[in-house]
């Protein structure tokens, strides 16, 4: 079984006369690591729902020319899922971005919370956003997800809570006894689902109160305390199963 090759191109690029020329890092990877040859099938994703099925037509030292054979367009998911989360410890956010992208998240928002570690984050956020975006691109290629998620700059949880309208199902992870399973929620007509996941120790009482005032519902997954990254990925998977099936 020869592995399906996928290439990512920025959304402002499109083929001319049925031909795509791939250069830069993507070409280098295809040529040096994957050693693609003329005739090999490749899928080109632009992260905005377009997928070009193509064949390698020419290879040179630094670029690859693809001939487009078919175009597929996948509409945006009917319900957009956003995960906003406090940052987990060292390196774990990268794995989480990858998993959320595989699952088909539309937007990832890092949260600044009262109990989270804020100082460190602000220092190096640009480098981190770059890295997370690269990981999301890799994950769309690996999983075949035609829609690249948006990864936003960190926002305070309270501020984030205020940005949604009535057609949005608003959830936050909570350890309080009022928290209910996601599957117990009524599935009225909604356009988006947004899920807030707090830091170790959870959101503060103050933060939870603010979220409730803005129409958020406290939810839980099972009886145990989950780490941030487990909660984020599993809450998305369960919410997709509940709302998008």
């Amino acid at each position: 079984m020869s592995r399906l090759l996928r290439v990512f191109v920025p959304e402002d690029q499109s083929p001319a006369d049925g031909i795509f020329t791939i250069g830069g890092e993507e070409a280098r990877h295809l040529l040096k690591v994957l050693r693609v040859e003329v005739g090999r099938q490749v899928e080109v994703l632009n992260g905005k729902g377009l997928v070009w099925l193509a064949k390698v037509n020419e290879v040179s030292a630094r670029s690859i020319v693809l001939k487009i054979e078919e175009i597929r367009e996948t509409p945006q998911p009917a319900i957009a899922f956003e995960v906003a989360m406090a940052l987990p410890k060292a390196g774990r956010m990268e794995e989480t971005v990858r998993q959320l992208t595989e699952l088909g998240v539309s937007r990832i928002t890092p949260l600044l919370t009262e109990r989270g570690e804020v100082g460190k984050l602000k220092d190096r956020i640009e480098g981190k956003l770059d890295k997370w975006n690269r990981i999301a691109v890799q994950a769309t290629k690996q999983s075949g997800n035609p829609w690249l998620p948006t990864i936003r700059e960190p926002v305070p949880f309270k501020h984030w809570c205020e940005g949604f309208s009535e057609d949005s199902c608003r959830l936050f992870g909570s350890l309080s006894p009022e928290a209910c399973p996601i599957s117990s929620l009524s599935q009225s007509a909604i356009k988006s689902v947004c899920i807030g996941i707090g830091p170790e120790g959870g959101f503060s009482e103050n933060e939870e109160g603010h979220a409730l005032a803005f129409g958020f519902v406290p939810v839980r997954l099972g009886p145990h305390v989950l780490r941030i990254e487990t909660a984020a990925v599993c809450a998305l998977a369960v919410a997709q199963e509940v709302f998008a099936v």
Copy 2:
């Protein structure tokens, strides 16, 4: 908020006259890393549903004496969840064991599959099982899960499929068009749910046929291709939400 301290003791240990003496690695960690002092509250877990709420009564160079104040017993989950999975790449199984334990899995079984990498696994399996067990213990302490999962030696997928009775809901992850969402399954009276997750590229046709013959149902999570570890953790979270809520 001072963090709740949890200690794990093997199931053959129990307190005498309301006193628990902790030695070895657990005591070292509590004394040297967490610097516990007399009067500090500690929960003692035995991984078999028993939790002793205790207070530190004495500390010495190498041991800690706990005085038991209350005993809590959590019955075994009404439905046992097993995840059997092909092994993901370098190191990712450790993170997966941790996440499955947080969620409350009862049994984890590494699978030998036609498309998985078998040779490497067999060589070093004992060391790996030890490490996975240590990680599962850590995860029970972190998450407060009072039931330590069993981690089995690797078994061939086909052999694993044959080990279940009619009161078990039998699922395997599949990319075939017949695969259905877990939430679409009927929830008849069952005692256990077992979920098989294949390697990159999925189970072979031969393996899928065998699973079908033994009453397994092909299931999928969303439209994209998930990595082994994402599939394993999310399938468990969704199945728990569907069957155990």
